[in-house]
């Protein structure tokens, strides 16, 4: 049990996701022994991501932009359980290295599971999927180390040879390994522990044989972490705060947790370079408005990702 652990609304759902993750990992180990006829596969990505507001700040002076090199590898198996349902289990490793704020550099290691079923024959049959993922993230800034959980259900349908749509409901939680002692009496220091529910919708349009354009809108209700210069005002609307040294060159800044509604809109152009490779350009606009109306955190994120699947 870590010191100063947060007990509250976060705990129940986090416990659920932790249990689910253990089940997933256990299933992965069990499945390994019976997966002789499973399809082995590998998904890998690498690319560059630029974010103009890594700190999630609403004051211009607090906004810290940076570019990161990202990479991920997911290797696993896919097994058809029936004519309509398939199970995918993967081990996942991903990493991010920032050009400037090295405290955010992190390596994630974990597992992912997906159960997907189709309701009928053919590519235009509707489908539903349940996916769960658990990664342990090891940050350069040790205070941020923790478990990154995500679970979602999705439904989708290819409407025609060009259009497809999908919707999803997901839950995510981040639980830091350790929490700084001390701080302000009555205020948790678990500023990196966040969770939330996300409702999303996506439409994709096949422009050519190689090109796919997709747009996604999502709405997330949950907590977010922001970083700002020392400011007693944040203590009024935050339920957790901690000294954070990631972004400060000379003065110390504080990371704080606040409840917010986050709206995200993203547009992705994906160009196939062959059967198994694609280059993907994405722009994401993210806006988090705090429940107390204390501010709106806006981020613009641009990424170029090379994807490979075997």
């Amino acid at each position: 049990m870590r010191p100063d652990a947060v007990i509250g609304p976060l705990s129940t759902s986090t416990l659920f996701v932790r249990i689910a993750s253990i089940v997933v990992l256990g299933s992965l180990l069990l499945w390994r022994s019976v997966a002789t006829c499973a399809d082995w596969g590998l998904d890998a990505t690498t690319g560059l991501t630029w974010n103009d507001n890594l700190t999630n700040a609403f004051e211009a002076g607090d906004r810290k932009p940076d570019t990161a090199v990202t990479a991920s590898v997911a290797a696993g198996i896919h097994q058809q359980l029936s004519t309509s349902t398939g199970l995918g289990l993967s081990l996942v490793v991903d990493g991010t290295r920032y050009f400037r704020y090295e405290g955010l550099d992190n390596l994630g290691v974990g597992a992912r599971a997906q159960l997907r079923t189709k309701f009928g024959l053919g590519p235009e049959a509707p489908w539903a999927a349940f996916a769960a993922r658990a990664l342990h993230r090891d940050y350069h800034d040790d205070l941020r180390d923790g478990w990154d959980y995500n679970a979602s259900i999705s439904v989708g349908k290819q409407l025609s040879d060009r259009w497809s749509v999908r919707g999803s409901l997901g839950y995510d939680a981040y639980v830091a390994d350790r929490v700084s002692p001390g701080g302000v009496p009555g205020l948790s220091t678990a500023a990196y522990d966040i969770d939330g529910w996300t409702l999303g919708a996506q439409a994709a349009f096949r422009m050519t044989e190689a090109d796919l354009l997709s747009g996604t809108l999502s709405w997330r209700d949950g907590s977010v972490t922001a970083v700002t210069h020392p400011d007693l005002e944040v203590l009024e609307y935050s339920d957790a705060a901690v000294i954070d040294g990631t972004f400060s060159d000379s003065i110390r800044t504080i990371a704080y947790r606040v409840a917010a509604a986050t709206r995200t809109a993203s547009l992705t152009w994906s160009h196939a370079l062959g059967r198994s490779t694609s280059v993907n350009l994405n722009y994401t606009y993210r806006s988090s408005r705090t429940d107390q109306g204390s501010g709106t955190y806006v981020s613009n994120i641009v990424s170029v990702i090379l994807g490979y699947s075997y």
Binding site: Q80, Q114, G122, Q158, D161, R275, S276, S278, G307
Partner: protein, 220 residues
């Protein structure tokens, strides 16, 4: 066509006549609107003299599944032929077709299904795999034994054709417009190969894309 199939005696006579008759050759070339060669176009020759009845048991044709793709992508066969669908991948496939010419389903399997399927109606059969949605293939079921498929150069040579007047047409899975619109009437003679060229317009085949999209944990 149905009237002809109902007259086996006539076919037998025709077959005997065809065996003894001189044979002609047709060299077909299919290009697109941009002038580039089109591969996988099927060229079908229908003689005015009639179509012979198949002699002997039908051959077993193959449509493989290799690297999660149908191979060949387009397979022309004669009506009445048997087709086996060997799965040469080490994963299961689930082959199906909704096409009126042959609607079938081969649920999850590895290796080769025990019984090949008979394709007894002329027409186009579009194949799919319910596990790998990007897998698409075509079987063209021809009413005549005289057909060919264009190679990378857009060329197909069909030999041993009956001499005389023939209707020749072209089909491609991405072709815009009906294949009937491509019909040409040609008189074939022995030892005088005839060359014909078609220019057809194609639309791209879209549907499910195999290449990955980051963040999409879909199976491929």
């Amino acid at each position: 066509m149905r009237a002809i199939l109902g007259m086996p005696m006539v076919f037998t006579t025709l077959l005997a006549a065809a065996a003894a008759a001189p044979a002609a050759t047709l060299v077909a070339k299919v290009i697109g609107k941009d002038g580039k060669a089109i591969q996988n176009a099927v060229v079908v020759v229908v003689p005015d003299a009639g179509i012979p009845h198949r002699a002997g048991p039908p051959a077993i044709e193959l449509v493989d599944q290799v690297d999660k793709e149908f191979t060949p992508y387009v397979k022309p066969i004669r009506v009445g032929s048997l087709v086996a669908f060997p799965n040469k991948d080490n994963v299961q496939h689930h082959v199906y077709s909704f096409s009126p010419a042959k609607s079938f389903e081969l649920p999850l399997y590895k290796g080769t299904p025990a019984q090949p399927l008979r394709f007894d109606k002329p027409g186009v059969v579009r194949l799919g795999c319910n596990i790998h949605d990007w897998m698409i293939g075509y079987i063209y079921v021809s009413e005549t034994p005289w057909f060919g498929k264009t190679d990378k150069a857009g060329r197909a040579q069909i030999d041993k054709l009956p001499v005389g007047r023939n209707h020749v047409r072209v089909w491609h899975p991405w072709m815009i417009g009906p294949e009937e619109a491509t019909v040409r009437i040609v008189d074939l003679a022995e030892a005088q190969p005839v060359s014909l060229q078609w220019q057809i317009e194609l639309k791209p085949e879209l549907g499910s894309r195999r290449a990955p999209m980051p963040g999409d944990a879909g199976y491929r």
